[in-house]
Symmetry: C2
Subunit: 402 residues, 2 copies
């Protein structure tokens, strides 16, 4: 694959306009409402949370996407419209109707997304009142403002663009995401919105999205808590080159989409609530990919591993203890090899002979840390991204509602 | 069942003597070595961690117990003798031999237990040097000192005695335990030592112990991390009344043993690292006991639920989100009812009509908090104990080795 052009400033996608405004949904004076307009004829596919307590907008978004002529994505922060009982769905629908009325489309062409506090009703009247303003703000270069507007406890905007050549011409994929806490997507993700000017069939789009999500958002955990509102949507405007469902162009596109999703997923882990470092946990040579993922997540979600990482303390025994409880019945603990970065830390059931505590601590003090566990029992690998667990995480989550 | 006499000061058990000394294993000047002597003819049974990285003393303890003539339990803190590679087992055996030499018994009659830091070798010579002292300290009223000597990051001694009548005469059960972090026993427990003067057959003793552990230590989680050294041992000296494997006396004994184990398990959760309150999560009306336990543990281990509890913040949406990701495929979220203490907080998928935020916050500000989830889908219940997640937890675990 020839090099893509990678940009951390999100680039416009032909056929997409984005607007963001302050609607005063929960706090005055901060952007909290975003509208993404897709050109007529765009396709969109999405994956949603598997949490049984799905928020009302998740149900509506899934239903509206099945009508298959998406024109607008409406995203609010402040309140998640989850755990809102019987009023949840009518409230979400009323927001869609407000967009439809302003933009001359059917309500089913509006896909709603909400994020924020669970259990409080959505102030529909404030959302509806802001729709004319957010429509007036629609522009091709609105992505970066949107990346800020959709955030909650995030401290950084999560955005990326890839620009690459297909046989039919140049193609762009731009994505933004939000998420810092309640992050353990289960066959879905936090909120992520990705658009391309490529043209794809519904099935090709869906297949590409699920493949990328499986390697990226589904491999992230900040705290093991799966959100009620997770959603990841991919829109393809078709203004740019058409892509068949297989062949070199599709593979090229898939690789670029994987890269965009992994980039956003890593950005979410790096900006995990209270995080001081991004942690990449790679499990090698497992019997199956499910086993590799299970071990990686057990290590990535261990509070004892995560607090040791916060202190850059090479307390490798905690990693071994986490692997040991990951549910592999016939694990041979003497075969396992543990690395921090490139350094071999433990083997043969104990500390490596070459172990150097100062070097190990220096490895863990980096802003990006790699923990690699080689099980030496098969041919499957998996990588999971997480962050360390700091006192700041507790402060953020003990004070989030106050 | 007529009333038991319950005592928070551990009472002597006929046929048991306990000694504790400072052996300077890791830190000078703190009691860190305990020896429990069982009268000749005592029986003992134990359950051990299912972590695949079992510490060396766990292997040795299991093997020595099978020889079935236990006389001494040797417990050290400071170092766990886990992740110590090939030297782990010879080191644990050398400690047993030191006791055997001093006490004129076979090394197989000494059962070793270690707790503390993983990955560092056990200083065998310091343990061996202290054996004559700890033997000289053996006394019937040594239980309370031992409850302190076996602790690591614990802030409180965990001890209880029950005294009750059986048909053959009065009977005592006394137990001590340690554990504050790396607490999520899996078919086993942290360190707990329980003795009775009753006489039981091996099978009756084993059956009684497993029943009690299933209702107590296996229902506790501080941080979801299963230790490499967990062990719970029950010794029966037979100096007191004999108990048949079934009948009224056995039931009486079982109920008392359940109460002792639940008391110690709750003490461990209440003293969880950094904890400011004990949290009892009860799941009612599940389809199976496994389902009830799974939901209860998912809620009890959710960092978002635990940080909200640290702030006494009635952020009930986080409880619903945790239930929703607990893996019940056909959960009807509209049937679920959530209570804090006696207060109904949520039902019909949203906030209860009678919800009173100030009253809910007051309920959560107590030192002992009850979170009850009524699934209304079956006849099985389970109760799990945990604690809140505070910034102090992070501080303790980021600094534990320094």
């Amino acid at each position: 694959m020839s090099p893509c052009q990678h940009s951390i400033t999100p680039q416009p996608v032909a056929g997409v306009r984005v607007g963001s405004v302050c609607a005063g949904i929960r706090q005055p004076g901060r952007p909290d409402l975003t509208l993404i307009e897709l050109a007529a004829g765009s396709k969109a596919g999405a994956v949603f949370t598997r949490n049984q307590f799905r928020a009302a907008p998740v149900w509506i978004a899934e239903r509206h996407l099945s009508s298959n002529a998406p024109r607008y994505l409406l995203i609010n922060t402040g309140y998640a419209n989850a755990g809102t009982g019987e009023r949840g769905e009518p409230d979400a629908l009323a927001c869609c109707r407000a967009v439809a009325d302003n933009c001359n489309c059917a309500p089913e062409q509006v896909i709603p997304f909400s994020t924020g506090i669970i259990g409080e009703p959505l102030p529909v009247e404030r959302v509806a009142a802001a729709i004319p303003n957010v429509c007036a703000d629609l522009r091709e270069d609105g992505w970066e403002d949107a990346a800020w507007a959709i955030h909650t406890t995030d401290t950084r905007a999560k955005q990326v663009s890839l620009h690459f050549e297909l046989s039919g011409g140049p193609c762009t994929i731009t994505g933004i995401a939000k998420g810092a806490g309640m992050i353990r997507p289960n066959m879905a993700t936090m909120l992520a919105f990705i658009a391309t000017d490529a043209g794809l069939s519904d099935t090709a789009l869906d297949r590409a999205l699920r493949h990328s999500v499986g390697l990226s958002f589904n491999r992230v955990s900040v705290d093991g808590d799966t959100s009620t509102n997770d959603a990841c949507l991919l829109a393809a405007t078709g203004v740019g080159p058409e892509i068949e469902g297989e062949g070199a162009d599709f593979e090229r596109f898939q690789a670029a989409l994987d890269a965009v999703c992994i980039d956003l997923a890593k950005a979410i882990a790096a900006d995990g609530e209270g995080a001081s470092r991004l942690v990449e946990v790679e499990v090698r040579s497992a019997v199956s990919s499910a086993e590799a993922e299970q071990v990686a997540f057990t290590v990535a979600e261990s509070p004892l591993v995560k607090t040791a990482l916060a202190a850059a303390d090479p307390n490798w025994g905690r990693v071994l203890a986490a692997v040991g409880r990951a549910g592999i019945a016939d694990l041979d603990v003497n075969r396992l090899r543990l690395f921090f970065g490139e350094q071999l830390i433990a083997e043969h059931g104990g500390r490596s002979n070459n172990y150097d505590e100062a070097a190990a601590a220096a490895e863990l003090a980096r802003p990006q840390v790699a923990v690699t566990i080689d099980l030496q029992r098969g041919n499957s690998n998996a990588t999971v991204w997480t962050c360390d667990l700091t006192a700041e995480y507790v402060r953020i989550n003990a004070e989030y509602r106050s």
